[in-house]
């Protein structure tokens, strides 16, 4: 095979050297699969009220419930099998994280590159706004947005996007500004190619590495932010609990020693977020030219 030198191949060869990062990537893939096939792998459909029995509520891990099977991680206050609830919760958390991540990536990149490409008044306007927003913590913006927009999946994604697009805009702007000044862009602009084509073909592709890094980190952040908002009672409606909501539901029972309701969804959440961050870290190191030997 002669294509061992495609950038992707080279990237993967280098990535593979870090065993921890490979393991983390495997974990991320596994969790996405579990979320996708939640209805297949879960012993119970936790949203189907007919399946739930209050007789089974708040039972410790290993309890054999009225359904005739063992609740490996115990049950929650509504009598849901916690393992199933975690798989379904994972699905919601990942959905929200990906949706918020991609929408903010699109909006942020568009704004950042527009600012860098056009320059002048528009650049000043966009970047002032972005800098202003960046000086406020994401959690606070998200909190206010959720209060403004109300509860629901779309509203939550909207709040997360409002809190996070600025990071992408800053990164895209920084990268595009640096590329914009280089000779190859000037050369491309000197040809009869349209400005739009130069942006799509030349400017945008050269700005992607830092954006990929920010995207991984921000997806992890949105998942964590969503969990935090849900924990504070400002996230999703209780009928379809995300991981954060599951943790929140278990909090009142923790003082009496029923730790599992809060702890296990939390463990799932953390494994997911840590794994994404480890992958993101490795990608960042690989893209950082200053660390090259």
């Amino acid at each position: 095979m002669s294509n061992t030198s495609t950038p992707l191949r080279r990237f993967w060869t280098e990535f593979r050297e870090n065993k921890v990062a490979v393991f983390a990537l495997a974990v991320v893939v596994l969790m996405i699969l579990l979320a996708l096939f939640a209805s297949v792998v879960s012993p119970q459909n936790p949203y189907d009220l007919a399946n739930l029995s209050l007789m089974d509520s708040r039972r410790p891990p290993g309890f054999v419930g009225s359904g005739g099977y063992t609740h490996l991680l115990g049950t929650d206050p509504q009598g849901r099998d916690l393992l199933s609830a975690i798989f379904y919760g994972l699905r919601i958390s990942i959905q929200i994280g990906l949706a918020a991540g991609f929408v903010s990536l699109t909006i942020g990149t568009a704004l950042g590159i527009t600012a860098a490409y056009l320059g002048g008044r528009i650049e000043a306007l966009i970047m002032r706004l972005v800098d202003l927003q960046l000086s406020f913590p994401a959690i606070l913006l998200a909190l206010v947005m959720v209060a403004l927009l109300g509860q629901g999946k779309a509203q939550l994604v909207g709040a997360l996007v409002a809190a996070q697009y600025a990071y992408f805009a800053r990164t895209a702007y920084g990268a595009a500004k640096a590329e914009r000044g280089k000779d190859y862009i000037e050369a491309a602009l000197a040809t009869p190619l349209s400005g739009r084509l130069v942006v799509w073909r030349h400017l945008l592709p050269n700005c992607t590495p830092p954006l990929i890094v920010v995207a991984t980190v921000q997806i992890a952040n949105s998942i964590s932010l969503e969990a935090t908002l849900s924990f504070l009672g400002l996230g999703l409606p209780v009928t379809e609990p995300s991981l954060g909501m599951l943790i929140s539901n278990g909090f009142p029972y923790m003082m009496s020693g029923r730790y599992w309701i809060s702890v296990y969804p939390g463990v799932a959440l953390i494994i997911l977020i840590v794994a994404i961050n480890v992958v993101g870290d490795q990608v960042r190191d690989q893209f950082n030219p200053r660390l090259r030997k």
Binding site: L132, F231, M254, G266, I273
Partner: protein, 324 residues
């Protein structure tokens, strides 16, 4: 230098004005506070009266100008729910939040920078790898979950430390502080650790990244060639060079920790401003929300202003860049 200060000051004023408009309009678009203020059985007459008394029958821009006029005279309005001046309400809760935030950020910075420099100076040693692994955890794990685990472990299982509240306080110059009593200290430990953990991870990463890059520069090579001892290089050259990003982050983190305290205060029932704002959002207490957000905006603008000034003092390039 004076020109630079004036320019930044005017910018800060402009930002504050813009923020006040955004916050005001944003908050006033939410729900109808009348439903919260009045019992459902209130007559139409009483409803009308209340709406007029709260000034809710005027157009939004008029409400804004009234609000701004009062604000400039130091009056932020009265809480719908507690019916006391908002400033008094927030002022009463502020010391609790401030002492929690200050303790967390200062300890996180001191510890984080030391660990980070070590991890950057000897990136291959197992100690550094452990530090970095822990920092990834601190960075990734949502702080509310850490709070739960701290409570579960130290308060429920071991019973060493209290799970919530402020404990005994001492009044100094009329302000209540937990920091100066043993009982208060025992109450502050868990929330402070909870709040500091994320900042600690951030400081470690920042100091490590800076150290790794600077140790490869010519400055350090020349210093070594000149026979300057490693300790002196670290203290004199490295610390100075990494201090700029660290000061920025310290300032910004001070503000964002105030915001993050919302979560920690909710978990540990710490009676600070964060708990107040969550409660106010839940009951749509508009004056409290507006006042809190404007105060936070003011805080951030002030912090950014101060950071700019400190930069200009440390780094002459910033000064000249602005003058040019």
């Amino acid at each position: 230098m004076l020109g630079f200060v004036i320019q930044r000051f005017l910018q800060a004023l402009l930002v504050m004005a813009a923020m006040s408009v955004i916050v005001f309009c944003g908050v006033y678009a939410i729900g109808n506070p009348i439903d919260i203020v009045l019992p459902p059985e209130a007559t139409q007459e009483i409803r009308k009266q209340t709406i007029r008394r709260l000034g809710l029958d005027r157009p939004v821009y008029e409400q804004y100008f009234i609000f701004m006029g009062n604000l400039l005279q130091g009056d932020l309005g009265r809480s719908f729910v507690y019916n006391i001046p908002v400033l008094e309400l927030i002022g009463g809760r502020l010391p609790a939040t401030l002492e929690l935030v200050l303790i967390s950020v200062i300890s996180a910075t001191v510890l984080g920078v030391s660990l980070g420099i070590y991890a950057g100076y000897r990136p291959e040693s197992w100690v550094s790898k452990t530090i970095m692994a822990v920092s990834v955890l601190g960075f990734s794990v949502p702080s509310f979950w850490v709070g739960l685990i701290l409570i579960l472990f130290f308060a429920v299982n071991l019973g060493w430390l209290p799970a919530g509240g402020r404990g005994e306080t001492v009044a100094i110059w009329g302000v209540e502080w937990s920091f100066f009593t043993l009982d208060g200290l025992s109450h502050i430990v868990l929330p402070a650790i909870n709040l500091a953990l994320f900042k600690l991870a951030m400081m470690i990463r920042l100091a490590r990244a800076g150290t790794r890059e600077i140790m490869l520069t010519d400055t350090v090579k020349f210093a070594r060639a000149a026979g300057i001892s490693e300790v002196t290089i670290l203290r004199r050259h490295l610390l100075k060079l990494i201090s700029i990003p660290i000061i920025t982050v310290f300032g910004l983190e001070l503000g964002s920790t105030l915001a993050f305290a919302v979560v920690t205060e909710t978990i540990f029932s710490w009676p600070g401003v964060g708990k107040l704002i969550i409660d106010s959002i839940a009951v749509l207490d508009r004056p409290v929300m507006v006042a809190y957000l404007i105060l936070v905006a003011f805080l951030f603008v002030t912090i950014n202003f101060v950071i700019d000034l400190v930069f200009a003092l440390i780094d002459p390039r910033v000064r000249h860049g602005a003058a040019a």
